[in-house]
Amino acid sequence: MEHYEVAIIGAGMSGLAAGIRLAHFGKKVCIFERHYAPGGLNSFYSKDGRKFDVGLHAMTNFVKPGVKGTPLGKILRQLRISREELDLSEQKRSRIAFTDANLSFSNDFSLLESEVARVFPKEVGGFRKLSDEISSYPDAKLDEAYVSARSVVRNWISDPLLEDMIFCPLMYYGSATEDDMDFSQFVVMFRSIFLEGFARPLDGIRKMIRLLLDRYRSAGGIRRMRTGISRIETEGNRVSRLVLDSGEEVEADVVLSSAGLSETFRLIDSELDRDYASKEGQLSFTETISIFDKQPSEFGWGDDAIVFFNHGTKFEYQRSADPVDLRSGVICIPNNFDYGDRTLAEGVVRVTCLANYDQWTQYEEDQYIEAKEEWNDRIWKSAVQFMPKSGLNYDSDRVAWDMFTPKTVERYTWHARGAIYGSPSKLKDGKTAYSNLFLCGTDQGYLGIIGSMLSGIAMANQHVLRG
């Protein structure tokens, strides 16, 4: 039986980051991934010769070179990746767009401050106090209890519209909790989006994944793709063996699982499934990707990289009752990053909305295809209301489109109910009832792309390299 010092379940951002740390320091480590492509929730695929990204809209946490002590700097150091290799381009700007109010923001926080002063003159003092509090808030500890972010924010912000506008991007980019979030998570997200900012490599997520794979391989890490784990065998309070989908068995001294909380326990014992089913995430999403033969600037959409939109004044971040919740969403235009003299070959507009897992998984195959076509059009019509009027004809100017649904997410990532932000309950220290089994990734609780890598790094450091 093959024996590894560490087995990692999942070749997503957290699994790859953990793997790089462990391989670099000489551990015999193997990453097992059921899918043929690495990346997990942030991945890519080709369709009709065209490359599509899934997951990542932008890297959050962008700071300019030389800014010290930030999450981006930490992960680059820990993974031995240089800023030059990653080659990030900053967003031009982004916007929170509600029916009655717009707030633009960029990687320069003073823009958001001046926008709040313009739209909510009575609130700007409170907003400044809130951002000061967040700047000086201590780094999240692994053992902190849940505190409602809404209740804390209301100490400084009294206009419910501004409150919802602040929460909208932070929830969309990382909350597994309906309508509220943990305050320490709010702090992490506020910093990563508003105080730091958005950037992207020209080639999107593929660039990041390629760098991670190169590092992992050159450090001596082993990777087994199309190799899922079907069972985790335990003896007493220890994991003894992993059973692969093929029936082959392997041994590992330590197992790091990025599969998720309920998903990992289901591998141990399907009976435990019932206990953990209640902890499954309820929030899933759909994303449409439309490709145009023009640059978005040619149809007058040339500045906003990311637009967080909401129809009406009240923002509700909940499990969708309909297949897609058309009331809110996120528009991402990857063309609107400052790539210098380079450009993306085609215009790309992605729209993400909350979606209902149960409805998308109950369709027969032909109903599913029809539903995708119907909702793709409806999502576009909902989103386009928040963009400048243009002469764009969605049907004739579009050269390709695709759409992923909660069903797609579950099919390729095995995350229960297609819940990309996982369970509302997180295991922040990564520890389980088994002494050599630890969680990393989504259900450990650091969210977003930078968070997921930080999770893999932190869990590898804490439970293997120091342990």
């Binding site: 700097g73 150091r77 450091n461």
Partner: protein
């Protein structure tokens, strides 16, 4: 190995861990943390790189000995010389 050679080895490790830091004027008697942006994760890496590259073990109780470049050299030079 001399203490100066040992300082060079430590600086090489720091350069690899934190390529974005300017190491041209690190004062040996001032704490590294006061001159450079190094956190506990970085210090863990210094310890692990010492083990990986040079076979030097630094037990957790001795991490304080790595506070400055001078104290690193004083603590590590005998360990390097004991290796042979």
């Amino acid at each position: 190995m001399t203490t100066d050679e040992c300082k060079k080895v430590v600086l090489e490790i720091i350069a690899e861990i934190a390529p974005d830091e300017d190491l041209s004027d690190v004062k040996p008697d001032v704490a590294l943390r006061e001159q450079l942006d190094l956190d506990s994760m970085d210090f863990l890496d210094i310890v692990m790189e010492l083990r990986k590259k040079h076979g030097i073990e630094v037990p957790e109780s001795d991490y304080g000995e790595l506070a400055s470049l001078g104290s690193c050299a004083a603590y590590l030079t005998p360990k390097f010389n004991a290796l042979v």
